[in-house]
């Protein structure tokens, strides 16, 4: 992974984007995102009755003139957004051309760069059977190289238990933010236990499933012993066109189940293939999905 994740031209195009959260976030730092707290921004939020001690400057005198009552104007507080990119680094992510992990790393790098450029904070976590290593929330565009370096060094290995990893992440990260899970989701463990844990922490969760063309339409044939890259478990299969068709149907059902679950929990879901250009992902797909604007 010596080549750069994103080229300079693409980075310049990313500077015009911003990460969007469907939920109002809360932060200790001022930023460009609406905060649930009332603050001093220019954006009107609400009224409340005046109580002694309030700043006279925020009394709405026009209303007082019509109603003969004192109301205080409230303005929304603008705070920074926390973006968490959970990148699945299990062994299955090493498949594909380019590999699913490479694609996920580039997508995560682009998203983090967008966030850093908009005075938001960004974090990258390496997940597998649990939360591996990662970078805590970074602020400022100058932190981008550090994030890129981390993402460039990710290696696909180990098993997957995204449910457990998400639960672990939700326990560690108490600050609300936008959580983007980048994974091939090829595991039999319960993903939605982790999703529910993230939602319980009021994170805005978005799932991006990264697959490759070979996974969707395998070219395997003949009498094979299929070895699971993560568990090492072997299964003897005589792959015929009929079996390939059944595999495609099984994969479609698996993806459909995940998508339905995401819809049920109000979680954004998107499936992409590794041969999709990352700029298309950011500029077209994620914009349509209203993850960025």
């Amino acid at each position: 992974m010596s080549e750069p994740l994103l080229d300079a031209d693409f980075l310049r195009r990313l500077e015009r984007l911003a990460v969007v959260s469907k939920k109002v976030q809360s932060s200790l730092y001022k930023g460009e995102h609406q905060s649930p707290r009332r603050g001093r921004s220019m954006e009107f939020a609400d009224y409340r009755d005046y109580v002694p001690g309030d700043d006279f400057r925020y009394i709405d005198w026009n209303v007082f003139g019509r109603l003969d009552r004192l109301f205080l104007k409230l303005f929304s507080e603008e705070e920074e957004l926390a973006l968490y990119c959970l990148v699945d680094t299990s062994a299955s992510m090493g498949f594909g051309h380019p590999s699913r992990l490479r694609f996920a790393a580039r997508a995560a790098a682009a998203l983090c760069y967008v966030a850093l450029c908009n005075y938001d904070s960004a974090s990258v976590m390496q997940v597998g059977a649990h939360v591996e290593t990662g970078l805590p929330l970074q602020r400022g565009r100058h932190q981008a190289p550090r994030l890129f370096s981390f993402l460039n060094g990710l290696m696909a290995a180990g098993t997957t238990d995204l449910g457990a990893a998400c639960i672990e992440f939700s326990r560690r990260q108490r600050r609300r933010g936008v959580v983007i899970l980048l994974s091939d989701l090829l595991c039999e463990t319960d993903l939605f236990s982790g999703i529910k844990a993230l939602l319980g922490r009021r994170h805005d969760v978005f799932v991006v499933q990264v697959l490759d063309r070979e996974e969707r339409d395998p070219s395997l044939s003949g009498d094979l012993r299929l070895i699971d890259a993560e568990t090492g478990a072997a299964r003897e299969v005589t792959v015929t066109e009929r079996v390939r068709q059944l595999y495609r149907e099984a994969l479609a059902r698996h993806v459909s189940d995940i998508e339905a679950g995401c819809r049920r929990y109000g979680v954004g879901f998107m499936q992409v293939e590794t041969d999709l250009p990352v700029d298309s992902l950011l500029l077209d797909y994620l914009r349509q999905a209203r993850l960025v604007r």
Binding site: L186, L226, V237, L246, R253
Partner: protein, 553 residues
């Protein structure tokens, strides 16, 4: 369906081996995949699919088993009896000899053959031209090629067995001739006898043996010499038949003897024997064949035969004639010959007579010379050659004979013996052969004397074999039935006296060497199916190849 090489079916033992190979561990290639739980789900779905899907999984196994079956069947050279059904022409030859009268399982064998032939006619395709031939002493075309099945059924229903013995040689020659003139014809020979020589069978001829084991007792010889009658009674098959042999002179019962269950000869003394009396031997038994249970003979005339020998001296000839019973031999030199009046037969030895009046045997007749040695061909069934074998006779030189009358024997290039009326001409001189030293010579002379003196009412024989032509004063009488015949107030016994006919063993299928003689029962002619099964085997190999590569593609 039958098999020409059933041992090839042993290849079927490979089937369990193929099944065993399928049970053995299949060598599989290792492939690392990102996750195989989806493949497991696909397999579960595949296993829960319909029976047809399961069948598809094992299709290769079934194809291989079918391949082994087809290969072994092809090597076993199966055949079916279809050619007759497919042939545009059909020749049905049915044995109508005395053997067809044999009661077998309560019914005459002819009925069984008739039933099978009728089935063949019914199963023949519309438009098939069918010929019906009866076979006894000679083949007899009962119905020439006809497409009218009703006519053929009527002809078959009206078919009657004769009392004649079966002579297969002319029948097989006829089938060979028909096979040559009608190459597409299927020929079916329904017979009660086994085919002795497979080389006479043509490939188109299918032999259908008919009949099972039966017990029979028969009179096979009946002769009278002076006041003594000799009767040979033979037993055939098992269990032996018991009963009585009765001897009658006219209507008078002379004697009755009990049969002991074995073959033996009986001698009866005839106390008052008069010329032209009829002696009747009768077997009072219940056996398979009735026509061999009676024999008749007419006692010979008291006057002995008079034979004139015109010779310069031939001790062999004179000795052979002197041995004949009831015969007086007169010898004169050629220069003294005037006429044959007063003699029954004249024998010319080495002298060509100017004129012949009356029955005569001429040795050294003809003209020119032809040097031997020769391969002699003769008519085995002619009465003159009864019990005569010329195989070992060597003739050094013969004259060329005109083919006048009936040629009884011949050598390459010329007839050797001809019969013109009552004159028997023999091309060679006795001294130019070793025949007088053979036992067949006195038998031949005895046959000649008996045959040549026949033809007049006065010299009617006492008995003849059934089917043999009986010529009396220019008329030929049919003798196809056993019995006592009356010609101009004189009697002639017509007897079977044929051990070959009376012996009724179950006929067996034609020898394996015969291409067409492998069948049994009423099945039609054979057609090999090896090509068909070989083609199926090759087709299976191609399908298997295609399916395997499609499966692994």
């Amino acid at each position: 369906m039958g098999f020409l090489d059933a041992s090839a079916l042993g290849l079927l033992a490979l089937i369990p081996l193929v099944v065993l190979l399928y049970f053995m561990k299949l060598r599989r290639r290792d492939r690392v995949v990102s996750a195989n739980f989806l493949w497991a789900r696909a397999l579960e779905q595949s296993r829960s699919d319909s029976f047809l899907e399961k069948l598809k999984v094992n299709l290769l196994l079934f194809l291989q088993i079918a391949g082994i079956i087809f290969a072994s069947l092809a090597l076993a050279r199966p055949f079916v009896h279809v050619a007759g059904m497919l042939a545009p022409e059909l020749v049905i030859v049915i044995d109508t000899s005395a053997g067809a009268q044999a009661v077998d399982g309560g019914l005459p064998r002819l009925d069984g053959m008739r039933r099978q032939a009728l089935k063949l006619v019914d199963e023949a395709r519309p438009g098939t031209s069918i010929m019906l031939v009866g076979a006894a002493r000679h083949p007899d075309v009962i119905c020439s090629f006809s497409r009218d099945k009703q006519t053929l059924r009527r002809a078959l229903s009206g078919l009657q067995a004769t009392d004649e013995p079966l002579d297969l040689r002319p029948v097989l020659m006829l089938t060979a001739s028909l096979a040559a003139s009608h190459p597409s014809a299927g020929i079916y020979l329904f017979t009660t006898r086994s085919i002795p020589d497979a080389s006479l069978l043509t490939p188109a001829c299918h032999v259908v043996p008919c009949g099972g084991p039966v017990s029979n007792v028969a009179i096979t010889a009946f002769e009278v010499r002076q006041n003594t009658a000799f009767v040979q009674v033979d037993q055939y098959g098992s269990p032996p038949v018991h009963g009585y042999l009765e001897m009658r002179l006219g209507d008078t019962l002379l004697d009755s003897r009990e049969l002991t269950g074995t073959s033996r000869g009986f001698i009866f003394q005839i106390p008052e024997m008069r010329a032209s009396d009829v002696l009747h031997a009768h077997l009072d038994v219940q056996d398979a064949l009735a026509c061999d249970n009676d024999a008749w003979t007419v006692l010979p005339a008291a006057r002995p035969k008079r034979v004139l020998v015109v010779t310069s001296g031939n001790p062999f000839l004179e000795k052979a004639l002197a041995l004949l019973p009831e015969t007086e031999v007169y010898r004169i030199v050629p220069a003294e010959y005037r006429t044959s009046q007063g003699y029954d037969v004249t024998v010319w030895d080495g002298t060509r007579p100017a004129a012949i009046d009356g029955p005569a045997v001429v040795f050294g007749a003809g003209s020119g010379r032809l040097a031997g040695p020769f391969d002699i061909q003769w008519q085995h069934d002619h009465p003159i050659f009864a019990h005569v074998d010329l195989t070992a006779v060597h003739v050094a030189e013969t004259r060329r004979l005109d083919a006048r009358g009936q040629v009884l024997a011949s050598v390459p290039g010329t007839p050797l013996m001809t019969l013109d009326g009552h004159v028997l001409r023999i091309g060679f001189d006795i001294f130019h052969s070793d025949w007088p030293l053979s036992v067949s010579f006195p038998i031949f002379m005895a046959n000649c004397m008996q045959f040549l003196e026949e033809g007049s009412v006065e010299h009617l024989p006492g008995q003849v074999r059934v089917g043999a032509p009986l010529m009396v004063e220019g008329h030929v009488f049919d003798t196809s039935r056993v019995g006592l015949y009356t010609v101009s107030d004189r009697h002639v016994g017509v007897n079977l006296l044929d051990p070959t006919t009376s012996d009724l063993p179950p006929p067996h299928a034609a020898p394996a060497a015969s291409p067409g003689g492998t069948g049994s029962g009423a099945a039609p002619a054979t057609r090999e199916l090896a090509d068909l099964f070989l083609a199926l085997f090759l087709a299976l190999i191609l399908i298997e190849w295609w399916y395997y590569h499609r499966r692994t593609a």
